[in-house]
Amino acid sequence: MQALYSQLLIGLINGSFYALLSLGLSLIFGLLNIVNFAHGAFFMLGAFAAPLLLEHLGIGYWGSLLIVPPVLALGGMVLQRIVLRPLQELDHLYGLLATFGFALIVQGLMQIGFGSAGLPYAIPSALQGGQNLGFMLLPNYRGFVILVSLAVCASVYLLVERTRLGALLRAATENAERLSSFGINVPRLVTLSYGLGVGLAALAGLLAAPMLQVRPLMGADLMIVVFAVVVIGGMGSILGSIVTGYSLGVIEGLTRYFYPEASNTILFVLMALVLAVRPNGLFGRREA
């Protein structure tokens, strides 16, 4: 039973990352109409930022948590402004290839700088230890990650569904041309949503840094799973991304307990099944 609970916990943790990453992908997709292949690279940069800031500037975990997501989001906005905006009018394939090329460059540079093995990063002292829940021991940091990701997902949901900025974002997704005819600066919205998506990826990376191995390819490998998650859920709705992210993480965890051989492939099998039955994904609305 203990093993089952701990796999469920790992599933929830992975689900948190899936949710944060697919949420960012959905935001970016809604306004730019591209899959951000650089998402994994930003996740990895977020993770690397933690040990690097600690080593060179002496900035601890909490400082990183405040600094890293906004800084990387800014970097993402620069990338979008310089590279992606000129490609916006063309076939979406080009935007996708550009982000893929960018991801290759970043990963390659990080591999040159830090090797493939990666850096260690300790759990912040305030979050070491664990809580005894009676049926299992919950490490504090893992509980923290789940809480933070739930809180962030909820705030992004509220931001998009309940605020004026969110209303503008939704309107731009629906019909960018009409929105700009109302005098709204749509290109700025596009840049902003790219930054927001990248910030979420960086935050996810930072949360992962003390738990996963911080290595250059950590993002690329994770992203392929997230793509399967996104295909299953459909990128139509914010809530859909969140729900699919968490539940698929849990399903993966359960598979690891009951049939470990399939744990690597289960999400891809599910994806194939969903495509056969509901081609638009569970929460998908219309075709891209």
């Binding site: 997709f29 109409n33 591209i34 899959v35 590279v83 000129p86 490609l87 063309l90 076939d91 979406h92 394939l93 080009y94 996708l96 290839l97 550009a98 893929f100 090329g101 960018f102 991801a103 290759l104 460059i105 970043v106 990963q107 390659g108 540079l109 591999q111 040159i112 690329a220 392929i224 799973v225 793509f227 399967a228 996104v230 295909v231 051989e261 690597n264 492939t265 999400l267 891809f268 099998v269 994806m271 194939a272 495509l275 056969a276 081609p279 638009n280 075709e287 891209a288």
Partner: protein, 321 residues
Amino acid sequence: MRDKAMKPHIASTRDWRFILFTGLILVLALVPLLGWVYPYFIMQALCFALFASAFNLLIGHAGLASFGHAMFFGTGGYICAHALKVWAVPPHWAVVFALIATLILGLCVGLIAIRRQGIYFSMTTLALAQMLYFVYLQSPFTHGEDGIQGFSRGHLFGLFDLNQTYVLYYLILLLFFLGHVLIARIIHSPFGDVLQAIGQNETRAQSLGYETARFKALAFVLSAGLAGLAGAMKALVTQTASLSDVHWSMSGDVILMVVMGGMTTFLGPILGGFLFAAMLQYLSVLGQWVIVAQGTIFLACVVMFRQGLIGTLARRLRRSL
């Protein structure tokens, strides 16, 4: 990719593509006689070039950007190597088995993937390829990280000893030639025109009464089979089949080859394949910088150089190349 001026094209002997391709084959056929080019380099380049052309059938003509084509390339290699080593069949059967396996795989993957369009198609193919990667990583016949190696190439039809370098060379060249003849035939057929129409505007093709899903599925299967053939050829040449050929980075590599050479062109992927092989051969001393270089080429091509090398040349010469 969709902004190419459409002209009715008829394959004729005066077509520049025909002349240049024939010239290329003749030069390559004479290379062994000159003896100053390393034949294994050319053979590897030919495998990559056929892989790229097979891929271009989808991305350049049908507008389908598959991000998982390594699965066909790698599977072709694995089946060919396994057939030679464990089943101990002659090489022609090994290649046929590889072809059959990748055609079936292409059909299965194609039927799933074409249910989604655009970027969802890309993500689906990438995810399915990754699934297959894990399957190969875990199944015993691939020998995991070691790969399949140390097998004899055997005798083709019981006559030609493929362990002799130049016998192998001409076989690879012949397969390269036949693969491209088939691709040219597909492009210039009415089927190829429908693919082109789907690539440019799928909704319009549908409104003209074409059942586009069926066309896309067939294109996918053909492309998969040709990619599998290229993979089987590479297994014959290198006498190995390994996980690196099924990894997603190989799917990225083939996109790079096509983008460098020029999508929508016939000769572009061939040039891309040769350039890629040269990068592997001569830039390997740079280590991880190769990945950075590849990423930079990607960005440069996409931002400034969308037609690719051959595409730019074709525009300059106002010819289809």
